[in-house]
Structures are given as structure tokens and as C-alpha cells.
């Protein structure tokens, strides 16, 4: 099986936010929740870079480790998913996540956050693949249709890559060698404990 990862080539990202919009539309993500966002570092200064960031589907995921009800699971493709029927909305995954991926439909007081929502790598949830219940709770399941996450698939500059970690790392390496520079695979050191050696 593949080891699915995301890779954002910050030297290509033009902060168009199409990945954000695609994600919201494809998964019918409610108001107030952004499973994916584009963050611009050193905005307007030399060395400015934009990075598209969502759940990185970490190796040894911190969210899964701290969940008090054990509602997370990792698929055969190494995608980190969770079961909203089991989630109690305690917020612990949000405390632990290095990427700020877990989101809650409500952020009111008294701990009424609602069920956590995050990027599913367009892989749905524990319900029957492509069922209405799955779509309603988790959004699209493109992986079950043999497609990759929409954010990466429609990225106009192909800055955001999704797919098997080794293949997207190879694509990135070739780019860096050809153009002579690369600001690295953002999040990889933190999510996968590895960098891409050029």
C-alpha cells in the first residue's frame, strides 16, 4: 500500500487559495471550518513564501495518541481519520496537533465544541464508502473512487502535491535540482520525522 502524504512546494505556491475553496466545496465543509488554509510567511518581505497547510496525516499521529476515547484510526494508505460518532469534542487533538488541523463547528464556552472536523485526505470516514451518511459527516471519498484529494489535483501551479510519499518526494527533488533551489517540504520534519534529501 501507498503511504499517502501532502507536500507543498512553497516556491511554487502563489497563494491563490483555490485549494481552500476546492476543499470547502468538494466536502461541503460548514461555515467557520477550514480544513485547509494557505499561510504566508514573511508577507511582503524578501523570502516571502506561502504554504498550503491541512492535516498532514502524521506518522504516529499526536491527535490519535491523546484522544481520550480513541476515535482515530489510520487507513491502509496511512491516512489518519476519525469517527465522529465516537468523538466527544474535548479538544485534546487540537491541543496536540502541531498544524492546527482539528476544527470544531462550535467554539462556544462550556466545552460545547461539537464533533471535531478535519481534513480526511478526501478519504471519507468509517461509514460505508461513498454512502450519503459518509458524505454528510466527513465529505467526499475520492480515494474510494481512485482519485487523489481535490486540493492537490486542481492546484494550478502544482505546488500542492498529494500521493504516495516516495513519488511526490521524487517529483519535488527533480524540481529542486532543475531550478537550483527549494525551501523544503514544509511540515515533513514535524509530521513524518524526515526531510527530502536532495
Amino acid at each position: 500500500m501507498a503511504r499517502m502524504k501532502f507536500l507543498c512546494d512553497a516556491d511554487r505556491c502563489i497563494e491563490c487559495n483555490a485549494c481552500v475553496t476546492a476543499c470547502k466545496n468538494e466536502n461541503d465543509v460548514p461555515w467557520g471550518i477550514n480544513r485547509r488554509r494557505v499561510v504566508t510567511i514573511n508577507d511582503g518581505k524578501p523570502g516571502e513564501r506561502s504554504v498550503s497547510m491541512a492535516c498532514m496525516h502524521c506518522t504516529d499521529a499526536p491527535c490519535a495518541a491523546v484522544c481520550p476515547v480513541d476515535c482515530f484510526y489510520t487507513t491502509a494508505d496511512a491516512v489518519v481519520l476519525h469517527n465522529k460518532d465516537l468523538c466527544i469534542g474535548c479538544g485534546y487533538c487540537f491541543y496536540a496537533c502541531p498544524f492546527g488541523a482539528p476544527q470544531y463547528p462550535k467554539l462556544s464556552n462550556f466545552g460545547s465544541r461539537g464533533k471535531m472536523d478535519k481534513c480526511t485526505y478526501c478519504a471519507g470516514g468509517p461509514e460505508v464508502d461513498l454512502s450519503p451518511a459518509e458524505f454528510q459527516k466527513y465529505g467526499s471519498n475520492r480515494l474510494a473512487e481512485g482519485k487523489l484529494p481535490l486540493c492537490a489535483e486542481m492546484c494550478s501551479t502544482k505546488a500542492l502535491l498529494a500521493g504516495d510519499g516516495e513519488i511526490i518526494a521524487q517529483i519535488y527533488k527533480e524540481r529542486v535540482v532543475k531550478r537550483g533551489y527549494g525551501s523544503g517540504a514544509w511540515g515533513w520534519q514535524t509530521a513524518y520525522r524526515e526531510t527530502i534529501a536532495i
Binding site: R37, P62, N83, L86, C90, T190
Partner: protein, 335 residues
């Protein structure tokens, strides 16, 4: 500005300086003048001196919290929650249970040496008992629902299955959030009503030095209304309860506590103080029930046996008698 904001501000400055330093020597031979940019590795290097730093940028969506690109501090909180917290909790709770069982086996139930007198004296009035049981009842539910968050996954989940465990945990979460309020009220009432009898003095030190008559031979020095051990319990409840209240309110109101780093901090405070307080309360429950003959009456009916009172609170009994609050008879003689 809160500390977290200061750190983030400082860190952005550092990051900018770093980026400029890297970008400066980029001469005309470079294909792209902005080719050199900050990398994750550089960010992680900076982090080594400041583990609570976040890498923030700018986002064009309204949710400004989304502007944090990376926040590796979550990893430290994870290792605290999965490691340190679990160990401290297990040692505090199991350790105290082992100590109490061992104490019971060696010392047995502490009897009233002179035997029950049949005469009683009022130790706690109805209001005092109400505020005690209000706090105690809430504390037991809060403690169990709190322990469930840390230990339920390992201990209870395998026994009752995922869906039942989730249902229980949701109920536990709501009970925890709402019973926190009467608990805080109870702690505040106990503080106000009992503070005057709980000012530490030299006699308490002598009482504690003598092991309170619990450990070793000989009897403890005479005590007033509360002895050294009870004062320790009082201050543990007041100070521990205050720490739990402050940290708990911050956790209940995420909008007050600043950012997720503050939430992590308050969560750690809440967890450690809670397990220590559970350990203290286990000892308190033991000595107030099976550990000592006559002790439960103080919080049960409020009327304690006169001989019990004389053995444990001789100075207090003397004061009460002086005030004319003569002990009543438990067994009413036939007239």
C-alpha cells in the same frame, strides 16, 4: 500582552532577522532574488531555544487562528499527557491506596480509647455539613470523570466497548463542566466558614511532629477545633480547589485563555493538581470512615461522641464547655 503573545512577537522578529540574513548575500548571480526563504529546519532550530514558539504568518480567511502554520509545542503537551500525567496520576492514586491498605493492616481501625461515652457534642452544624457534602459529592463525580479522560481509554474502553465508552465519556464531560460550579461554591463556603479555625500555629507543628497519634506510640498533643492534619486537609482543599477552579475556568472558556499554548498550560496545571488532590482526599475519606471509630459522625449526624472529641480535640471540647454548650446525651435516660 500575555506571555505567549510576547514570545510569538519575539519569535517573528527572530525569524525575520534570519530570513533577511539569509537573503542579504543573494547577489545578481541568483536566478531568483527571493530563492532563499525560511525552511522548516531553520524554524525548528530556532525552536530549540524556545519550545513554545509558533510559526505564524498571514491568512486571507477571517479565522486568524488559522495563521499559525506550525506549533510543535503540541508534541510536548502530548508527551506530558501520555507520559508524565499518566505516571503522576497512577503513582498518586495507586500509591495512596497502597499506603492506606498497609496502614489499615498495621494499625487497624483507630478506636475510641476510652470507649463511647454515650454523650455527644455538636461538631458540625447543618450548614457546615451541607457545604461539606456539596463539595464532596461534586468532587467525587469530578474526580471520576476527570480520571476517565486520562485512564478511561486504557481501563474502561476495553471492557465496555467504543460506543458505550463514548456515551459514558460525553455524560462525564457534561457532568464535569457543570458540577464544577457547585464545587467552586462549596470550596468558597468552606474557606469562609472554617478559615478562623484553620490558622496554622505552633501546636499544629507539635501535632504533626508527633505523627498525629496515627504513627508511632503515644498520643497526639491536644488540639483545638481542627488539628494539624485537618488543617493540612483544609489548606489542600482551599489552595488545590482554587488552582483547579482557575485552571478549570480557563479550560471552560477557551476565548478567555488566549491561545492553545495557554490551554495546554492550564490543562497541565489542572491535571497535576487534580491527581494530587484525589490522593489527599482518599486519605481524608479513609480516616473519616473506616479508619477511625466515631469520626464519621462529625459529618454524618454532626454529633460526635464526647470521648472521641476529648481524645482528638481536647482543647476544643474545653472551649465549648466554657461557652456553655454542654454536651447532650445520646441515650435519653427514662424519666
Amino acid at each position: 500582552m500575555p506571555l505567549g503573545a510576547h514570545l510569538r512577537f519575539l519569535f517573528s522578529g527572530l525569524l525575520l532577522a534570519l530570513a533577511l540574513a539569509v537573503a542579504a548575500p543573494a547577489g545578481a548571480q541568483q536566478v531568483n532574488p527571493t530563492a532563499n526563504s525560511v525552511r522548516e529546519q531553520q524554524f525548528l532550530e530556532v525552536l530549540k531555544g524556545n519550545p513554545s514558539a509558533e510559526l505564524r504568518g498571514r491568512v486571507s480567511i477571517p479565522d486568524t487562528r488559522a495563521a499559525t502554520l506550525e506549533r510543535p509545542a503540541g508534541r510536548d503537551w502530548r508527551s506530558f499527557h501520555q507520559g508524565t500525567m499518566t505516571r503522576i496520576g497512577a503513582v498518586a492514586v495507586l500509591g495512596m491506596l497502597v499506603i492506606l491498605v498497609a496502614f489499615y493492616l498495621f494499625r487497624g481501625r483507630i478506636r475510641i480509647a476510652a470507649g463511647p461515652s454515650g454523650q455527644t457534642i455538636t461538631r458540625f452544624n447543618a450548614f457546615e455539613r451541607f457545604m461539606h457534602w456539596l463539595t464532596a459529592g461534586c468532587f467525587i463525580i469530578l474526580a471520576l470523570s476527570g480520571l476517565n479522560v486520562t485512564f478511561g481509554k486504557a481501563l474502561l474502553l476495553p471492557l465496555i466497548g467504543p460506543q458505550a465508552f463514548t456515551n459514558l465519556s460525553v455524560a462525564a464531560k457534561w457532568s464535569h463542566n457543570f458540577l464544577a460550579w457547585p464545587f467552586m461554591l462549596g470550596v468558597a463556603l468552606m474557606f469562609l466558614v472554617w478559615i478562623k479555625d484553620n490558622i496554622p500555629n505552633l501546636g499544629d507543628l507539635r501535632w504533626l511532629a508527633a505523627g498525629g497519634g496515627l504513627i508511632g506510640k503515644g498520643h497526639a498533643p491536644p488540639a483545638r477545633r481542627f488539628n494539624g492534619g485537618q488543617k493540612v486537609i483544609f489548606w489542600a482543599v482551599v489552595l488545590g480547589g482554587a488552582a483547579l477552579s482557575v485552571s478549570g475556568v480557563y479550560l471552560l472558556y477557551p476565548s478567555f485563555s488566549g491561545g492553545v499554548l495557554d490551554m495546554q498550560f492550564w490543562n497541565m496545571v489542572h491535571g497535576i493538581v487534580a491527581v494530587l488532590m484525589i490522593a489527599v482526599m482518599l486519605a481524608h475519606i479513609y480516616i473519616g470512615s473506616i479508619g477511625m471509630e466515631g469520626a464519621f459522625d462529625a459529618m454524618g449526624s454532626g454529633e460526635v461522641d464526647l470521648n472521641w472529641a476529648k481524645e482528638h480535640h481536647a482543647l476544643w471540647v474545653a472551649e465549648e464547655v466554657e461557652k456553655g454548650r454542654a454536651p447532650g446525651a445520646r441515650l435519653q435516660p427514662a424519666e
